[in-house]
Symmetry: C2
Subunit: 353 residues, 2 copies
């Protein structure tokens, strides 16, 4: 605490990311990274840029990346905004599109960064309870609001919302912006990107950190009506003219263009998830239906915090959330390589024996 | 304009960075980039990181870079904050340390991003006139304020403020934070970093974009009392957990550690500046005393805007600011390679003939 701080900083409760420990031989299944390396074409593109050109500022519009994203989705480039990770994109969304008289709405169990952005920018929110199967109740979002945001599939549950439900929610909220945070969509949920060309109040965000294996490069984007994109550009140009460095722009653009590698690695993760779910169920876990690169699972008799700690002692890291109370029995387990998933199952088998 | 925007976005006037045109054989002296490439050790460090590890999130604390900055300056690591370019660092400073009841103070002629941050975060400011020689009048900053910020040397003038004056300004403003933006300090001004260990209200920001030749990598930092740093960390952790990518962390850390290359390239720029100033004066320019990697010069008889346009037609790009009126006669010219400076002089000679 310091008298030099702006007042709200004293009350600010920052987001806590998953651990990035430097323990050798750790089976790291706690931060939803992709088990496969980035596209070789992305690495090659960065290799070509790594040199004297770094003395120059990047293109402030990240034009090459905007074009690559637009081409991938078949949308006009005016519908694309890129940023330094989808967390930065989301921060600009909260500041530029969510500061209205009414509170914004998001699920009570969801990405825990949303209430943090609200604290940062002085935005009111209402957390809307999921139903007993951890699904979003669309009808609960049909009320006055200053904006709506939810991940699809949801985090940390992995549960997807059908596209029909998303369209109903968007079409019944024409007075506010609906943001679908599709960080994990490529692992089995239906993307709402095509709907952005129909509904001017829909914004979809995605990241290269999960399905493009580039968490270490920090690139995310948003797709929506040009008027929504313009608000984000105004915020960005009033915050940092060059949020993406030269290496990130070329690497991310090349990753977006490498559709074959993307499809192949996503499929491998989904296949591993199917196998892992069966093994977890055989060990007495109930697993929520996941369309993500992680599963959310609780054991019939073992406490979530205790299991996470016991796994840690066996050098297997998974993520456990103490609150809200309803998720405390669960573990969130990232899908790893087949041998990492096998190590997890072996460790659990030893713990539960 | 859109009804979906947060209200303040309608009035927001973003910063306009210098052009980054893609014209071959351009003599580009408009955005104060370093004419020399980055340290070979920085390139080598990024080379070693470029590969499969990019699938992993970076260290959210950028610990290796914080350590390198702390070691370079001989300050505790708790006194160091790093960000995605010093523009991002400054944005967090405005939000976390400058939002108080009184307006903040900065010079009327200065880095034009400062009023933009105020617009972004709803901060009042008073622009304090420079004196007739474009120097900061310290006495004008001894009044109630919510914070003070100025570049040293100032931008776009290049004029430095002596360290004694800075200490007087800081010591007479113990109730507010004084930020010295040292983007250009390594080209001839005296750094206030050592004073941060004496005054808890002093924060110094620097960037790797100029003296470290890494504008394309987006890395900046702040040095100050741990309580000031904690405010910035809280903001950062409420905005984007991982603002620096894995390549930027290792590349910037290596650049900070390469003192010899840094000293050698800074010296070369300063020597070129001395030569360029003499040539500009011989052509009828008056040049403000510069401690930066650029000069601010006006011609005795030629208009600034016209000169900038005439140079552009000869494929030489310099920066011209239309406002405030007092700077409109001037050109801001980045110090280039000796042959680039010679091309500028040749072009001016032809224009003025």
């Amino acid at each position: 605490m310091s008298r030099y701080w702006s007042d709200f900083v004293h009350k600010l409760v920052p987001y806590v990311p998953g651990e990035q420990p430097k323990i050798p031989n750790l089976v790291k299944l706690n931060t939803n990274e992709n088990p496969y390396p980035p596209s070789p074409r992305a690495i090659a593109a960065m290799q070509a840029e790594l040199g004297a050109s770094l003395r120059r500022y990047p293109d402030p519009t990240s034009g090459a990346l905007v074009d690559a994203v637009a081409a991938h989705f078949g949308v006009p480039r005016e519908c694309v905004f890129v940023g330094n990770g989808s967390d930065e994109v989301l921060a600009h969304v909260f500041l530029g599109l969510f500061r209205h008289a009414e509170p914004i709405l998001f699920p009570d169990i969801t990405y825990s960064f949303y209430p943090v952005y609200c604290g940062l920018y002085g935005i009111d929110y209402t957390a809307v309870p999921l139903d007993e199967s951890f699904a979003i109740r669309v009808d609960e979002y049909l009320r006055p609001n200053g904006g709506i945001i939810f991940p699809n599939p949801n985090a940390p549950t992995g549960v997807p919302l059908p596209l029909d439900d998303i369209e109903r929610l968007v079409s019944r909220n024409v007075d506010s912006v609906v943001v679908v945070d599709e960080a994990y969509v490529d692992f089995g949920a239906d993307s709402a990107v095509a709907l952005t060309q129909k509904y001017p109040n829909l914004l979809v965000t995605q990241t290269l950190s999960k399905s493009r294996s580039l968490a270490g490069l920090r690139v995310g984007y948003a797709i929506g009506h040009p008027a929504l994109i313009e608000a984000l550009v105004r915020i960005k140009d009033s915050f940092n003219s060059y949020p993406l460095d030269r290496l990130a722009i070329v690497g991310a653009a090349a990753a977006m263009a490498d559709g074959d590698y993307f499809a192949q690695t996503c499929r491998a993760v989904v296949d591993s998830r199917t196998a892992l779910v069966a093994e977890l169920q055989a060990l007495g876990f109930s697993v929520l239906p996941s369309a993500a690169n992680f599963v959310f699972a609780r054991h019939a008799s073992c406490d979530g915090a205790e299991l996470a700690q016991a796994l840690r002692e066996k050098a297997v890291l998974v993520r456990h959330f103490r609150s809200p109370a309803r998720v405390a029995p669960y573990l969130r387990v990232t899908i790893g390589l087949p041998e990492e998933n096998a190590a997890l199952i072996a460790a659990l088998r030893a713990i539960l024996a």
